[in-house]
């Protein structure tokens, strides 16, 4: 059926004339708010998301970022907004299509429509001021847009956002968003007191006046919706078990770094990693640490290595192009066994690529980027909560094993916001390992335990510990040396540490049955979407499970045995792989997803992969669909 467009009654009817609003109840629901940049849809969305969290809903929000810094008004490219998925239980990913969208103009709405972001039967709340706009072109654009939207089953409801807001503010561009918040609060029956609190909290630095105006707009929107809309959606909440905090992944990485006792972060600005350093720059002023913006990423790595060599807990934060520049210094850290934590908030590549878009394609570069053999640890947080705790793990491993630890986050975690259990802090996480006690004369700077490759580092300030670290090959006294088996031995010592770490790890847990037709393997930010897809497939009766790797180097033990219990193993990744049916692509020419490639070498199991580089997170529905196809090709059989 064609999209139906409702005009709202011109004059307010007395409430009793109207049919009572039918209430739809949903266990989870996705809505978004889109506007031109600067009209505040993002703020509106942030507040709405926070309100849902406070009311006990599971929430996952995602920013909708325009391509330019300040795009002209009313162009699809300029769409700026916020996507909120909330539910009765925890929400672990951004979901599939949007079920309801509130748009400030029809052009930004078109952008979302064209990207396929909207469900075929989505409800659209659209500001109608453009229909009657003085400018002829605007009116035409409006008509064309509605025609284009007409090709779907959307339900478009026109809302006089602009007109109504004028009752309170002269420039609706600066008020609409609070009116919109009111409309949504009514549609989703949000507790207005909570909303008001959140507004107060959001604008705490602003004047009382600002607060008053915003609340007035909120209530106006709420009332208007109550009186004119027949849409009411209920997403019951379940009171959370314990205290919760809500933040995005980059804030979580930053807080985690503070909790882990990092004292220095050297970086060079790069999207989408920069906001971690924005957070630390502000926080370190109070926590007593240093955020150093270096002249480039090479220097940033060098400063972090210098600080770590001097006994501090140091990290560097970057993304693709910056990681590329750190390549040489990372090799030096490995060779000198200087602890170093590198946070890589992954974006689309190669080269400058897609700066604001999510991707998981730095895995192999993290592992193999260095010329020569440079063993290092690579871990990946899968949730925003992980982003906090991974920093503690990273520091502990880096210092215990005198090694480089990569933390691979991505743009999805960086900007996604989600509530999680408030971490209980531990004092030992922060403790400095700086030890300036003298060491016995002749103490060796690389006093390797021949079994484990572990050794205690000597730090400037320690009497008798004097030595010169070098990126040239060296013996246990750090003397430059090549021959006589020294290179072979030193290489073994640097490599052995990974085997030792692996021996301390547990196999990753299986989500679902521990045997079956298909095992889906993932890493990083895709966990929520994969597990939701698995749930759906299992609900359909498929024998599907998944496992998610938090350690990529060393890999967790038991994978070979685990994989053997499934008829088929397939990774799901946010990176590029050749499609099996494309021209020239054969068993021998196909280039696999990055994790799939590693797992094939590691397990010798014919690990398949389904990967996409759409510049956006994976949708559970898309994963489920892809896995259904894989399952369809399996011959029916009793057991696996």
């Amino acid at each position: 059926m064609p999209t139906e467009t409702l005009a709202y009654p011109a004059t307010d009817p007395a409430r009793e004339d109207r049919a009572p609003r039918a209430i739809t109840t949903r266990r989870e629901h996705t809505l978004e708010i889109v506007s031109d940049a600067g009209e505040g849809a993002q703020k509106c969305g942030q507040i709405f998301g926070a309100v849902c969290a406070r009311m006990g809903n599971g929430v996952w929000t995602v920013e909708i970022i325009p391509a330019e810094i300040q795009p002209p008004p009313r162009i699809p490219d300029g769409a700026s907004g916020y996507r909120i998925r909330f539910g009765t239980g925890p929400v672990t990913n951004w979901g599939d299509e949007t079920q309801l969208v509130l748009a400030f103009n029809e052009q930004v709405l078109l952008a979302r429509h064209r990207l396929g972001a909207l469900a075929h039967d989505a409800v659209i709340l659209l500001d109608d001021c453009w229909a009657s706009h003085p400018d002829e072109d605007v009116q035409r654009a409006w008509r064309d847009a509605l025609d284009e939207l007409g090709t779907r089953d959307y339900r478009v409801i026109l809302v006089p956002m602009d007109e109504q807001s004028r009752a309170i503010v002269d420039n609706p561009r600066k008020g609409k968003n609070m009116f919109a918040l009111g409309v949504l609060s009514s549609v989703y029956a949000r507790d207005l007191d909570v909303v008001r609190e959140q507004i107060a909290q959001t604008f705490r630095t602003k004047s009382e006046q600002v607060y008053a105006t915003n609340v007035a707009l909120l209530e106006l929107g709420y009332r208007w919706a109550d009186e004119h809309l027949d849409v009411r959606i209920d997403v019951p909440a379940t009171a959370p078990s314990g205290p919760m905090v809500v933040m995005n992944g980059n804030e979580a990485l930053g807080l985690g770094a503070l909790a882990a006792g990092f004292e220095l972060c050297a970086m060079y600005p790069i999207t989408p990693a920069t906001s971690v350093s924005h957070f630390l720059g502000e926080a370190f002023e109070r926590f007593g640490g240093v955020l150093h913006q270096a002249e480039d990423e090479i220097a940033a790595a060098g400063v972090a290595i210098g600080a770590s060599y001097a006994g501090g807990a140091a990290l560097t934060v970057t993304s693709g192009p910056g990681l590329a520049l750190k390549t040489e210094f990372i090799g030096l850290a490995v060779m000198t066994e200087t602890p170093l934590v590198i946070v890589d908030v992954q974006r689309g590549g190669p080269s400058t690529g897609l700066p604001t878009k999510v991707e998981q394609s730095d895995l192999l570069a993290a592992l193999y980027g260095q010329p020569g053999d440079a063993p290092k640890v690579v871990i990946a947080p899968a949730t925003i909560e992980d982003c906090f705790h991974v920093m503690v793990t990273a520091r502990r491993i880096a210092e215990t094993f005198r090694c480089v630890v990569f933390v691979l986050s991505d743009a999805n975690l960086a900007t996604g916001v989600q509530p999680f259990a408030r971490p209980t802090l531990e004092e030992r996480w922060m403790r400095s390992t700086l030890d300036l006690d003298p060491v016995p004369d002749g103490a060796k700077p690389f006093d390797w335990d021949p079994r484990t490759g572990l050794s205690r580092r000597l730090i400037p300030g320690q009497a008798n510990g004097m030595h010169t670290l070098t990126g040239l090959e060296h013996d246990d006294r750090s003397r430059v040396a090549y021959g006589g088996g020294i290179h072979q031995h030193s290489s073994a010592m640097r490599s052995r540490k990974l085997a030792v770490l692996q021996s301390m790890l547990l196999p990753p847990p299986v989500y679902g049955d521990d045997a079956g037709d298909l095992l889906v393997v993932g890493w990083g930010s895709t966990k929520g979407a994969i597990e939701e897809a698995v749930d759906r497939l299992r609900a359909e009766g498929h024998r599907v499970s998944s496992t998610h790797l938090s350690f990529l180097s060393p890999l967790q033990p038991g994978l070979r045995a685990m994989f053997a219990r499934y008829r088929r193993v397939c990774t799901v990744e946010l990176n590029y792989s050749d499609e099996p049916n494309d021209p020239y692509i054969t068993d021998e020419s196909r280039r696999y997803g990055q994790l799939a490639w590693m797992l094939r070498a590691h397990t010798l199991v014919d690990v398949d992969c389904w990967t996409r580089v759409a510049g956006e997170p994976l949708r559970p529905g898309a994963i489920a669909a892809a896995m259904r196809l894989r399952l369809a090709t399996l011959l029916p059989t009793g057991d696996a």
Partner: protein, 318 residues
Amino acid sequence: MSAGPVCPILCAGADDDRALALSDYEGATARWCPGCGDHSVLTAVERLLVAEQLAPERTVFVSGIGCSSRFPHYLKTYGFHGIHGRALPVATGIKLQRPELTVFVVMGDGDCTSIGAGHWMHALRYNVKMVAMVLDNGIYGLTKNQTSPTTPQGHPSNTQPRGTYLPPLDPIELALGVTNASFVAQTAEWVPAHLFATLRAAYHHDGFAFVRVLQRCPKYTADIYQIAVQRPEVLELLVHDDGVVVPELERTYTRRLVHDPRDLARARELAMPGERIRLGVFFRDASRDRYDLIRRATPRTTTERLALLDAELDAHAV
């Protein structure tokens, strides 16, 4: 950040009653070519360490890669022999973390002015307290005779066999062009007394002290400083109480010019290419902003940090 016992503005002399002798600073035997100027620099630096009684365990020599960068191995202090061109960021990291450590940086001309140029410029600007020497032999020594930015025009090398194409970059002129640079000096390794005095002044400077040391490489650029070595009158000493004054040199080096290192404009003029090689402190201003002091973080106890962190979490509480 760890609070060292010694104030970073002062120099970190040994705070105990050890009497440190040359032998307390000697590392592996130097393996430079016979007659290599690096030997003289090593000697001067060892003299300085003794003269200032620097605690070996609180002194760090940071270098890049090159003949000159082997330097730290030949001392018994802490050393960081890093990668080519990147000694300065490492040294900066050390000082930001541990202001109480005394840091010396040893670079080659290629190391500092070619691959390391960007870091060099920015280190001059950060003005973090350390002594940064470039041992300038006007060539790539370790890789065996390639043109460096400071190679004299026309001097043939393995990569510019018909003679180096461009006029040599003058590190002093460039350093003097960098905003917030606070100490820029030039000395020559074959004038030990001047070398020592200059390094000592650099060590006592409150900020980033850049010292270009003219260094002979008998292997590949034997010719370039020959005249200057043979004919003292080719050298002109810049003298000033606020710079370096070396009375014992006055008989040999008769060309002297009084230059107040606070006068930047004059310094730049004196740095301009001419028939004379000038040694001394071209510029010095201890009042320039020091990044390491500005950034000095007030140390917080773990308990304080835990409290702050709790507050942070409250701000994000649902």
